[in-house]
Amino acid sequence: MTASDALTAVLVLPAAAAAMLALMPGYRASAWGNVAASFLTFAAAASLFVLERPEPGAFLHIDDLNIVFIVLNTFVGFTAAFFSASYIGHELEIGRVTPVNLRFYHAMYQLMMFGMNLALVSNNIGLMWVAIELATLTTVVMVGLYRTHEALEAAWKYFILGSVGIALALFGTILVYMAAQPVLGEGQPSMIWTNLMTGAASFNPAMLNVAFVFLLVGYGTKVGLAPFHAWLPDAHAEGPTPISAVLSGLLLNVALYAVLRFKLLMAANPGALTPGPLMVALGLISLVFAAAMLYRRRDIKRLFAYSSIEHMGIIVFAFGMGGPLANFAGLLHMVMHSLTKSAIFFAVGSIAQIKGSQKIAEIRGLTQSHPALGWGLVLAVLSIAGMPPSGVFMSEFLVVTSSFSQMPLLTLVLVLGLLLAFGALLMRLTGFAFGEPSGQNAPMYGSLAPLWLHMALVLFIGLHMPQAMVDWFQTVAALLG
Amino acid sequence: MELIQNLVLQGVQMLVVLVLAPGLTGLVRKVKARLTRRQGAPILQPYRDLARLMRKEVVLAENASWLFRVSPYLIFAATWVAAALVPTFAVGLVFSWTADLIAIVALLGSARFFLALAGMDVGTSFGDIGSSREMMIGAIAEPAMLLTVFSVALIAGSTQLSNVVGFMTSGEIGIRVSAGMALVALVIVAIAENARIPVDNPATHLELTMVHEAMVLEYSGRHLAMIELASSLKLLLYVALIGCIFVPWGIAAPGAGFADLVVGLASFLVKLALGGTMLAVFETSIAKMRVFRVPEFLGAALMLGLLGTLLLFVSRSL
């Protein structure tokens, strides 16, 4: 197998699986079919590591930057599919979904994976835009899966805001094309990443600046940056929990990847304004705002949705600062956040099934009633709050130190935001985990394996980061400028 | 010799507008009547009305000040001068250097000012309501008019009406969307300024809806005649203005011969008749809007003027 076969497989597998799952009756078979397809996709993506990379084509390419994203994406896609397979059956039993809905859900899941993978490996700004649109649409459908008032409202809000975001991103894409067209000529060549990167130095800088503002606002809406975040908590809270995990762990990353790509383009043009300050500002606003919002949440999924906004803020802040150290920290934090946050949502899904509710007030004493789940949650929440020795602590520590050297005053704001979030999460965690168990106590269906697997990875990276990974991240960080 | 000829032509122009104005009003009324299947008064009825009013005694309110007595003449004079400045059948008349669009707007604005003052002078509630409504309309109509003037001036490169007419007849204009917007805006302003449906109803004396009529309710005799004549002149002015900017064909060039002047006059008459008929048809086919909706209606004109100017800015800077 060559690398271009693997690259094709990353796209063809989910697409074919989507078609097959749409036709397959019986939710058990399709749930495990979903897992199998996701695993094969992950295997194909992982093989890209070892195989020699193909030359970038007109549509697809693979390089140091996107391979991080694609491997992470397919991995979390696989674990979430595994969790979903163990989890979704109970949703059917309690009548939240119908078998037809489920068939649709599994097909959509693979279609979404296809959209995200395509966005990550596309070598073409137009194709990337179409792929992100596809991924968004499929998630909209899945957020509305339960057909309740709240789910429909959340889907509608997500849809409208996401559409506006995608529209602005398209305008930005058109502007990038217009900037490239005098240099690279008409048609396809002016939309290919690898061409754009080589020609970027001679683009019209003013045009690139405006284009980047549109792209940042457009894709930033999908990253969930404040003040364009309004869709995010609703979409996380009202959709099925595996989808919340995928949204937080993957879709936000895909949008972030698009922003980073365009940031690279900006960096390659000497006349263009540095995108840093814009990203730093948006990141800090998101961080502080979301951290403050954590305090008044009453719904557990909403709580962690705001925490996602907070972490996206940290990541965008880190990339905005730039420099090898900050970029390294940003990448690491992105990976750690994906793993930890999806682990948390796996736990939350099981909790919601046990308690029959997402209300924070009704969830108590989990370490007593369900030790494996409860301690897993404790571990995950402590990690996401930034306690050592987790990987999140390491990346947050790196973000703070690099911001100390670059912008000491803003570090105060950053640390304030981090502490606020830390306090809120810890306060909630004591409620969830300790004390007398209360409320309903249904048996647990969701598998705990994905949760513990993710946490093991996070702890392992936090304690001892493999040298290969360090080298690789350093290469990418240097690339990001 | 030439000067005398020019002065004569200018005199003819002043007479033509004065003589034709009540006729236009009569025509509009007649067409409206026929459209609603009424016989209607003859077209010449406004002349008879004016003659009768001139003979009648003036009745003044006890607390009317000198302003109330002077205003009709001021209004009439300002409107007449303004109307005489608009090219009707010929351009390049003696006074055409003053025939500036901004000057015309200013003259009409001062006429409006005196009318509103006179409406409030006696202190009846009707007059006050009318004046305040008139000022509300004016506050939007005048900027709208000015913006239209600007976009026309940007197209033609001059605010002098003679030059505008010259540019428009030369065919250099091509396809201009801003010109279309200016036309629509000018029509809306004309409807509002002449107290026509849907902004105001010239034929009503219903207190809730009146604007113009409420202000002049206290007038009688020759004062009323002056005001009536002034409003007829204003209607003619707007029709002539729209005609000379947007359908400038037939207007005699400077120094044209007698035949050209006759053609110019004939085409002017045709334009007046067409304009009057179209106004009547429009008024019959639409209902009066509530006073509170008027700012939105006029706002559309303002916006069109603004947009037209912006669009011109785009196409000129390319």
């Binding site: 137009g126 194709l127 179409v130 649109e133 649409l137 509305g144 057909r147 008032h149 709240e150 429909l152 409202e153 889907a155 509608w156 809000k157 849809f159 409208i160 506006v164 529209a167 602005l168 398209l170 305008f171 058109i174 502007l175 094309y177 217009m178 067209q181 008409e186 048609g187 396809q188 002016s190 939309m191 019209n204 003013a206 045009m207 908590p233 609703d234 809270a237 008044r296 949440r297 009453r298 719904d299 909403r302 209300k359 | 091509g174 396809i175 201009r176 969307v177 801003s178 939105e296 706002g299 559309a300 916006m303 603004l306 947009l307 912006l310 669009l311 785009v314 196409s315 800077s317 390319l318």
Partner: protein, 221 residues
């Protein structure tokens, strides 16, 4: 003599901006839908004109999509839907029409100034002004989405925003994927329209007033 290629492109593109203002001005749903159909029709002409002067035949497909799908099917479907679902016929605004118009004027001025300055180097006058006008249409569409309460008028706002995008994409000389993008957007719009119908927003929420939706927001106790 006059450059009629430019004049007509200017006429069509600026008519789109004008119709965007007309959309803001409407206060009845049916009238709104009719005006939207008009805008889609103008867009179809504008795109076809671009296809003609650029000699880019694939753009005719985009024009046809705009004509058939957006000027006919979507307004008709929404019309039916408003009728069948008994959605209220008035457009409810958050901000009054006149201030909205003034803000809209400001946005148009902003986008014109920004885009003309930006594209100073570009050689094609048509592309430059198409970009300026399309940004205006986009911003006006967003303004409409922000200042309207009904879901249907928000959808119309989004579709007019998207009209601006198609105009920009066709104006950019030789840009690939224009047809694909218009297809993608058509899918998106179809989903929105089907979504309004399928989810029976009327049935679920009694009105399509998003304000009412907001009562369900978030933190349920």
């Amino acid at each position: 003599m006059h450059d009629y290629a430019f004049d007509i492109a200017h006429l069509l593109a600026s008519s789109l901006v004008l119709v965007s203002f007309m959309l803001i001005y409407q206060d009845r749903i049916y009238a709104l839908l009719n005006v939207f159909a008009l805008q889609a029709l103008l867009l179809a002409f504008a795109v076809a004109w671009q296809a003609w002067i650029q000699g880019a035949h694939h753009l005719y497909v985009s024009a046809a999509i705009a004509l058939i799908f957006k000027a006919m099917i979507v307004p008709w479907a929404l019309h039916r839907m408003v009728q069948r679902l008994g959605i209220q016929r008035e457009v409810e605004t958050v901000v009054g029409v006149v201030p909205t118009m003034l803000v809209g004027m400001g946005l148009v001025a902003l986008s014109v100034l920004l885009m003309l300055q930006l594209t100073e180097a570009a050689e094609s006058a048509i592309a430059r002004e198409d970009l300026a006008f399309s940004l205006s249409v986009i911003l006006l569409g967003m303004l409409m989405m922000v200042t309207r309460r009904n879901a249907v008028s928000q959808v119309v706002g989004f579709m007019s925003l998207e009209n601006g995008l198609i105009l920009a994409a066709t104006g950019a000389q030789g840009m690939p994927f224009v047809v694909e993008i218009s297809v993608a957007f058509s899918v998106l719009i179809a989903m929105i329209v089907i979504g309004v119908f399928l989810f029976r927003i009327r049935e679920r929420f009694d009105t399509v007033d998003v304000e009412v939706l907001d009562q369900y927001r978030g933190e349920r106790q």
